[in-house]
């Protein structure tokens, strides 16, 4: 019975989910800022870093209202500068654009600077409409989560001894 319900052709009406494919066409009509469209159509820094690498911090956050999930990874050098950023976002156009923008923005920043990035900056830069503000918030949360993960990892490592070489990742989907 439920199988049929989940597969029903009637889309759940609650939640402001935007269908991923038509989003591009609608985006143009609804006059999203061209930066959003640009980031959505050609997102920067998509991909994954080795999450077992001691220099990599992984942030994983979700937006329940949309069912969005966002992964943001930072690679930090010994001076505490973010050398590389990768992201993967499954969600609406604005969430993808926000995370793509953020990866460009925080590359080269120190952890402290990156931790101060506010969602309002992201929203302003991309001219997000009010209903999509939570997408920029998600991106902000993702940075914080990645930094927190990195710091937890480092403090564990310093507590247990010398930093080991990065282990090759085995099961990466």
């Amino acid at each position: 019975m439920f199988r049929a319900a989940l597969r029903s052709s009637v889309r759940p009406i609650a939640g402001p989910s935007v269908p991923r494919v038509p989003a591009v066409a609608q985006v143009v009509k609804r006059a999203y800022h061209e930066k959003v469209i640009n980031h959505y159509e050609s997102p920067r820094n998509v991909g994954s870093l080795n999450k077992n690498d001691p220099n990599v911090g992984t942030g994983l956050v979700g937006a329940p209202a949309c069912g969005d999930v966002m992964k943001l990874q930072i690679m930090v050098d010994d001076e505490g500068i973010i050398k590389d950023v990768k992201f993967k976002t499954f969600g609406c156009g604005s969430a993808i654009a926000s995370s793509s923008f953020v990866t460009e923005h925080i590359k080269g920043l120190s952890l402290e600077q990156a931790g101060q990035v506010k969602n309002t900056e992201i929203a302003k830069e991309l001219s997000l409409p009010p209903v999509k503000l939570h997408c920029s918030m998600l991106a902000e949360d993702a940075i914080r989560a990645a930094i927190r993960d990195y710091k937890t990892k480092r403090s564990k490592l310093t507590a247990t001894g010398p930093i080991p070489e990065a282990q090759p990742e085995v099961a990466m989907a």
Binding site: V10, P16, L60, V61, K88, V131
Partner: protein, 265 residues
């Protein structure tokens, strides 16, 4: 009061076995057939009410729960402000409770979440028949507009109650609990998010039909489990946990949508 009810005849309740064509729906054997004659529209509506709701509907009629037609004072037969006698049409408040509208149990503790989708559909179709544009095409513009508005509310109500996810969200929103825009899942949900991400990443890669179906089946199982949990939580009145589980279901729905998108390629 009774005299007014008598005026709304012919109202017949049929306790006979269901028509053969419907017996394929085993669930309908549990339902009563209620036939309402809409004299004004010259149609007979056949409604299927769950066995335990049937006396309630009669009770509602006898106590005139639905109120009276302001024009001819005949009692309304359903939760629609459309008079079966004189055809007067009123305005249905858009914020009407959707469970009330379709004669369904509305108390989540008594199983509002576990509604029978087939009965919902029958009620919906019957009620749409009453406000179908064809039935109102010869009426004034005002009346046509009202019928259209009611029809549109019925559509929204139906699609809201149809799927377990939107139904859960609706029940929660009636309790003042929303899946807030600004909420985000973080550290405490990392295991769950990793599971979602893994499936979504899998769906990005090259997959054949069998592999897609396997992902879909696994997702269906998880969703079924979540719906069962939700049912239990609603019965217990555990709203906070129900909200959590509704969020979980939102993610399974997202995966289902992604699978469908892949299948349509």
């Amino acid at each position: 009061m009774l005299a007014q009810v008598v005026r709304c005849k012919p109202l017949r309740t049929v306790r006979a076995p269901l028509p053969r064509v419907l017996s394929t729906f085993a669930i309908l054997r549990q339902a009563h057939v209620l036939q309402l004659h809409h004299r004004h529209l010259s149609t007979t509506l056949t409604l299927f009410l769950p066995r335990d709701r049937h006396p309630t509907h009669l009770h509602n009629l006898l106590t005139n729960k639905y109120g009276f037609c302001p024009s001819c004072e005949a009692p309304y037969l359903l939760a629609l402000p459309i008079c079966a006698e004189c055809g007067n049409i009123g305005v249905l408040p858009p914020r009407v409770n959707y469970f009330d509208l379709f004669e369904l149990e509305k108390d989540p503790r008594r199983g509002a979440f576990d509604l029978d989708e087939k009965i919902l559909k029958q009620m919906y179709l019957g009620m749409q028949k009453i406000c179908h544009p064809d039935a109102w095409s010869t009426k004034s513009e005002e009346e046509r507009k009202r019928a259209e508005d009611i029809s549109s509310i019925l559509n929204t109500a139906y699609s809201t109650l149809l799927t377990p996810l939107s139904r859960a969200q609706y029940i929660l929103s009636q309790k003042g609990i929303d899946l807030m825009e600004t909420d985000s899942l973080g550290q405490d949900h990392s295991e769950f998010l990793a599971q979602v991400l893994e499936t979504r990443e899998l769906l990005e890669g090259p997959l054949n039909f069998q592999e897609l179906e396997a992902i879909r089946t696994r997702n269906d199982d998880r969703a079924t489990y979540t719906v069962e949990r939700l049912s239990q939580l609603f019965r217990e009145g555990n709203w906070e946990q129900a909200r959590e589980d509704a969020i979980t279901l939102r993610y399974w729905q997202g995966i289902e949508d992604a699978v469908k998108e892949r299948l349509s390629e």
